[in-house]
């Protein structure tokens, strides 16, 4: 039986795992961005999440506070479009779970839904514009579908990671309509979007780090 809730330790572990994933994939993200943007996505995200990692090394005392610290740190260290957008994800998630000591699938859905809506508002983009939303929106939808289908928390997280991956891959033929890639017009087709890729990694690490049975076992 897998766990039915997400704990504070898991949220910290997720963000640290994501920071490692960004660091390991820094060159790949930069290559994707160099093809259709300006080649800074890997370096910017890595700089921001290294700063986040340093702040979270001591763990945290509150899930909402950890997410807020992450968002505020990203806002002052990443820059570009990714800074405000990734900052928005974490700040919105923090707001949506204020006061909670653990998170259910329903809580997680509310948080990610708020995050996705805020990214739409901040970036003024929509699904199909070849942006991070092409991974984020399907991932959130998959969480909702999983809840309706009665899947476990762990299965729902895996389904959202898969949906984000499919969404990322589906950006390949798209013509960019937002961000610097849009200046290329038709020449932006044939490349996977770097923002959708870093968003896929966010949900991939969430599926691996959250709702782990051994964490629950350790508590007993």
């Amino acid at each position: 039986m897998s766990n039915t809730v997400i704990t504070l330790d898991e949220v910290v572990a997720w963000i640290l795992a994501y920071a490692r994933a960004i660091s390991e994939n820094r060159a790949m993200l930069t290559e994707l961005d160099a093809a259709i943007g300006d080649g800074d996505h890997g370096a910017n995200m890595d700089r921001g999440f290294k700063a986040v990692s340093a702040k979270l090394q001591a763990g945290g005392t509150d899930i909402s506070q950890v997410l807020k610290t992450t968002g505020m740190t990203l806002l002052s260290t990443v820059g570009g479009a990714s800074g405000p957008l990734y900052s928005t994800i974490f700040l919105q998630a923090a707001q949506a779970c204020a006061g909670k000591t653990q998170l259910t699938l329903q809580d997680w859905i509310v948080m990610m839904d708020a995050a996705a809506k805020a990214v739409v508002a901040r970036g003024k983009a929509a699904a199909g514009d070849k942006t991070m939303l092409d991974a984020l929106i399907p991932a959130v939808q998959a969480l909702k579908d999983a809840a309706v289908a009665g899947l476990s928390l762990a299965d729902a997280l895996r389904a959202s990671a898969k949906a984000a991956e499919d969404g990322m891959e589906a950006t390949l033929p798209l013509i960019a309509r937002k961000g610097r890639a849009s200046y290329l017009g038709e020449r932006s087709a044939g490349h996977i979007d770097p923002g959708a890729t870093s968003t896929y990694l966010l949900f991939k690490t969430a599926a691996a780090a959250l709702a782990q049975p051994q964490v629950q076992a350790r508590k007993w």
Binding site: T30, D38, G39, D40, R47, T77, P84, R180, Y183
Partner: protein, 333 residues
């Protein structure tokens, strides 16, 4: 990669440290967060003019901080927008009680970060207005794209707006003037070579020896089309034609003609382009009453140029001629 640097991670910081050491008579530099502020800021009763953007475009923006131009600049990482905390710090430093104008180049990241900064500044009771510069005719404006990029016209907007602020014009007046400049100016650029972002380590795109890129931006992003290499006169025609037709200039109009170097092209060549651009302007009945030639808004070591035309009025001409004392532009003093 062959660059005069120590380590890719230290490029912006070390360059800023050198800038601070070289120009302490004109600017105060803070490192955390990174800001470049006019040495006598805040100037009481004067609208503060603030701009910022990714590094790698020098002398823009830090080189234009000083009397008669910008009150502050916020440098980001190479080709990356600065962050709201930098902008807020700079806003506080230049607010002389008459409010602060943000001059923003039209890029998604810059817009979002400046938007967040203006929210924070207004929360502190500082009056802030923003003007977006989007002069690049190479990008077709449409509801379905990020819109036209902010390129060469930014330099002219900063000079003219800064002069108006120096005359103690109000925040709404200075903002309206900046919008007027944006409405009356257009640019288009081209590249002979790509450029290398230090932490990437190789050129942004490959451009064979016998080809050039037309419609380039200022971030090494490829342009709209690639064509066979042609002589300077033909390049000047390719850039002038879309700029003139987009502006809808009429014979007899006064214009400022600005030929900008992208960082790796010598003045010798820029003047060859200027020579032909001025000839084309004259042939179309335009009166080139003011001019600017040189590397003012660059893209690291990229070779190439951009051409900007600004339709002048008597007011704009007088503001252009007004005294300016910055690292990158200095006259009348």
């Amino acid at each position: 990669m062959k660059k005069l640097i120590n380590h890719p991670d230290d490029v912006v910081r070390e360059s800023l440290e050198g800038f601070a050491a070289a120009h302490a008579d004109l600017v105060r530099v803070t490192m955390s967060p990174a800001t470049i502020v006019r040495v006598d800021a805040p100037v009481t009763g004067k609208v503060g003019i603030l701009s910022g953007g990714g590094s790698g475009h020098e002398p823009l923006h830090g080189g234009f901080v000083g009397l008669g131009m910008l009150d502050a600049a916020c440098p980001g990482a190479i080709f990356t927008s600065p962050t709201p905390d930098q902008m807020l710090e700079a806003t506080r430093a230049v607010n002389g009680g008459a409010g602060v104008l943000y001059i923003i180049k039209n890029y998604t990241g810059d817009l979002m970060n400046f938007e967040m900064a203006s929210d924070l500044a207004r929360d502190e009771g500082i009056a802030v207005e923003s003007v977006i510069i989007d002069d690049d005719v190479a990008v077709n404006d449409s509801l379905y794209t990020a819109g036209r990029r902010g390129v060469g016209l930014t330099v002219l907007a900063e000079k003219i707006t800064g002069a108006a602020a120096e005359q103690r014009r109000s925040l709404p007046q200075v903002a309206a003037l900046c919008r007027q400049v944006n409405a009356q100016g257009r640019s288009m650029g081209m590249a002979l070579t790509s450029c290398t972002v230090p932490h990437v380590g190789h050129p942004m795109f490959e451009l064979p020896d016998d080809e050039m890129e037309i419609g380039i931006g200022i971030h090494g992003e490829p342009g709209r089309r690639r064509v066979k290499l042609q002589p300077a006169d033909a390049v000047a025609e390719m850039l002038m034609e879309p700029v003139m037709s987009d502006l809808g200039l009429k014979p007899g109009d006064d214009v400022l003609l600005f030929v900008n170097g992208m960082g790796g092209t010598p003045l010798t060549e820029l003047y060859i382009v200027y020579r032909k651009a001025a000839e084309i302007a004259a042939k179309n009945g335009l009166k080139v009453t003011r001019s600017l030639v040189g590397p003012y808004i660059t893209s690291l070591e990229m070779a190439g140029c951009s051409i900007t035309l600004l339709k002048l009025t008597d007011d704009l001409t007088a503001l252009w001629d007004a005294p300016v004392r910055t690292v990158g532009m200095r006259w009348g003093i």
